[in-house]
């Protein structure tokens, strides 16, 4: 009687196709290939695939990736953070206030900003786990609170909502280049000398490559993706993240410190938002009170395109990274292809809906719900 499960004739052997479908990254992989094929066919001559073009959509994708990694791990742990966009604006503004208005050394401004923002993340998490309220509502409150401060503080101190002069203030600082610098210049010079990538033909930079390094933003994005993926799939903590989002009560019964896991994930999401903000203010040289608006939704969309379930307990960081790549390539690709940019939103809505429907189908298949 114990060999029943050995061969139940009513269970069809699952095909390789269906097994592949069970991988959360699948949608992201198919989407990535589709997007590159599409733009390869329709926008190849537009400059999208020369060195500047590649750098252009790579930077945009990397921005999405940074916040998507945080949102992904948090969503798998069963929670949302709608305050990511406000956190980006707030963090950028804090750096400007500390580094420019107060004139502190940039590295101190950056570190203090990280501490404050991660503390806000912890507060989000603490309120969610202690009150048991949906994180949706709690972080919606944080969204407004942080955005309000982001406007109020510079207005009170400087009578304006955009503070510039950050690049000058960061001159010679040791920490700022880790967010705003570039690496790999010699490689690009070498490539330029051999005519593999474009070089300036005139002017005082003639002969130098048009793209002269990989922005640290991209390094951060790839680094966070690798760390996030490793953490989720290869560590004990990763198992706790899945468990906390899959069924918090069952996880608690098994001795998983669910509350601590969730709070840490809120902190990590805030950390990612702050990385985004620091890279952004270093690139722009200024902080604005309206930075980061709607970023929380873009992060969530990238994560969902990447195969994570909105209900938690299932997803993949690699998938979220691919979702961010699709996001960036399409947004910039439509620009290169001279398509009206408002259509990007239409595309976004359609692909989001398609991804959610596919994910729900996958969930039903796994859990056997009907």
């Amino acid at each position: 009687m114990s060999d029943v499960s050995n061969g139940d004739e009513r269970i069809k052997t699952t095909s390789k196709f269906r097994q592949a479908l069970m991988r959360p990254e699948l949608g992201g992989m198919v989407g990535t290939v589709a997007v590159f094929v599409f733009f390869g066919l329709f926008a190849f001559d537009s400059g999208m695939f020369n060195s500047q073009g590649v750098m252009n959509w790579s930077v945009v994708s990397a921005q999405f990736m940074i916040i998507a990694v945080g949102a992904c791990l948090l969503m798998i742990a069963g929670e949302f953070d709608l305050s990511v966009g406000s956190m980006i604006g707030f963090a950028g503004m804090m750096i400007a206030i500390f580094g420019v208005t107060l004139g502190w050394p940039m590295w101190i401004a950056i570190l203090i900003t990280f501490v404050i923002c991660v503390a806000f993340g912890a507060l989000n998490g603490y309120i969610v786990v202690t009150t048991g309220l949906p994180s949706f509502i709690v972080t919606l409150a944080t969204l407004f609170i942080l955005r309000g401060f982001t406007i109020f503080i510079p207005q009170t101190l400087e009578r304006k909502t955009i503070i510039g002069g950050i690049r000058e203030a960061a001159e010679g600082d040791w920490l700022a280049p880790i967010f705003g610098g570039e690496i790999g210049e010699p490689i690009f010079v070498w490539l330029g000398d051999r005519g593999i990538i474009n070089v300036f033909e005139r002017g005082n930079r003639a002969g130098e490559p048009v793209v002269n390094g990989i922005p640290m933003l991209i390094v951060w994005a790839l680094g966070l993706v690798i760390i996030g993926h490793f953490l989720l799939t290869r560590t004990r903590f990763g198992n706790w993240v899945f468990a906390a989002g899959g069924d918090a009560d069952a996880a608690r019964n098994a001795g998983v410190p669910v509350n601590a896991v969730k709070i840490k994930m809120f902190m990590f999401t805030a950390f990612c938002a702050t990385v985004f903000a620091v890279c952004q203010v270093m690139e722009f040289g200024s902080a604005g009170a309206d930075r980061g608006i709607l970023k929380e939704f873009e992060a969530i969309i990238a994560v969902v395109i990447g195969g994570a379930l909105l209900t938690g307990g299932y997803g993949s960081v690699i998938g979220a990274a691919l979702g961010a790549l699709i996001f960036g390539v399409v947004q910039q690709g439509l620009f290169f292809a001279n398509v009206e940019s408002s259509l990007f939103r239409v595309f976004l809505g359609v692909i989001l809906l398609a991804a959610v429907i596919l994910n729900t189908y996958i969930r039903r298949t796994i859990t056997g719900e009907r």
């Binding site: 009687m1 499960s5 198992n239 468990a243 019964n253 307990g313 859990t367």
Partner: protein
């Protein structure tokens, strides 16, 4: 068979003005399957929750391996070796069997300063433990959600046994299962008992209890009606004790058979 592992002495438990348990005494022996029977509301759940550290008894004593115990929380009881497999299982359907099996007790492989989840070890152990219970998994990566109800119960039981349970409390493991799956779970209970583990099997199904039970304790309205050995009692008597006698007999008469 007198190697008593846990003794519950005159356990009383009040919730406000409600008397859930009014002095229940039961002793559980290693290697036996002790069936705890009772109708809904008889106090079975309260009793096992007291045993597993969820509730503190209002009065009475728990003696575990010869020592008076005072469990502050379920974690204490689990550490001591009292594991509960709940009706709702504590399994996460979207996670793989091996990830579920080691949830909260993940094996660690050190790679320099980095501690990694040892997936190879986890997969091997989960497969081996399931095979011992007579279930041949397609793959340890299989999501628990794809298993049948009986197989899920077996994963939960195998997990508790692997992590050193001395007393295994099964809270209505068969109540939601079909005939064949029930048979599988009962067979698993038999295997666990033969390893010298005390099994406390909560059910309100007399036939399931008679199939594997060594001793039977009936709870009714927060009281025990005594413990009976296998062979000393008939299914009909058990049924009567659970239902509290008279009206049940009358009902069965009108329905034409044992309910």
């Amino acid at each position: 068979m007198s190697n008593i592992i846990i003794q519950m002495k005159n356990i009383e438990k009040y919730f406000g003005s409600v008397i859930a348990l009014a002095g229940v005494s039961v002793d559980i022996q290693a290697g036996e399957c002790h069936c705890l029977l009772g109708d809904n509301g008889a106090g079975k759940s309260t009793f096992i929750k007291t045993m597993s550290g969820v509730h503190k008894p209002t009065k009475g004593m728990i003696v575990f391996e010869g020592q008076a115990m005072n469990f502050a929380n379920p974690r204490d009881a689990i550490t001591a070796g009292i594991a509960t497999v709940h009706q709702h299982l504590g399994m996460i359907p979207l996670m793989s069997v091996s990830r579920n099996f080691f949830m909260g007790n993940e094996p660690i492989k050190k790679f320099g300063p980095i501690k990694m989840f040892d997936h190879d070890y986890a997969n091997d152990v989960a497969m081996a433990e399931m095979l011992k219970m007579g279930i041949n998994l397609r793959s340890p990566d299989q999501a628990v959600g794809t298993l049948s109800g009986g197989e899920r119960q077996t994963v939960a039981i195998a997990r508790a046994v692997h992590f050193g349970a001395k007393v295994l409390i099964l809270d209505e493991p068969t109540s939601a299962l079909g005939v064949r799956q029930t048979a599988n779970v009962l067979a698993t209970i038999d295997k666990v008992r033969k390893q010298g583990i005390a099994v406390v099997f909560i059910t309100h199904n007399v036939r399931h209890a008679m199939a594997v039970g060594d001793r039977f304790t009936v709870l009714n309205r927060g009281k025990t009606l005594g413990t009976a050995l296998k062979g000393e009692i008939t299914p009909e008597e058990l049924q009567d004790m659970m239902a509290g006698g008279q009206e049940m007999a009358a009902l069965e008469g009108s329905l034409g058979g044992t309910v």
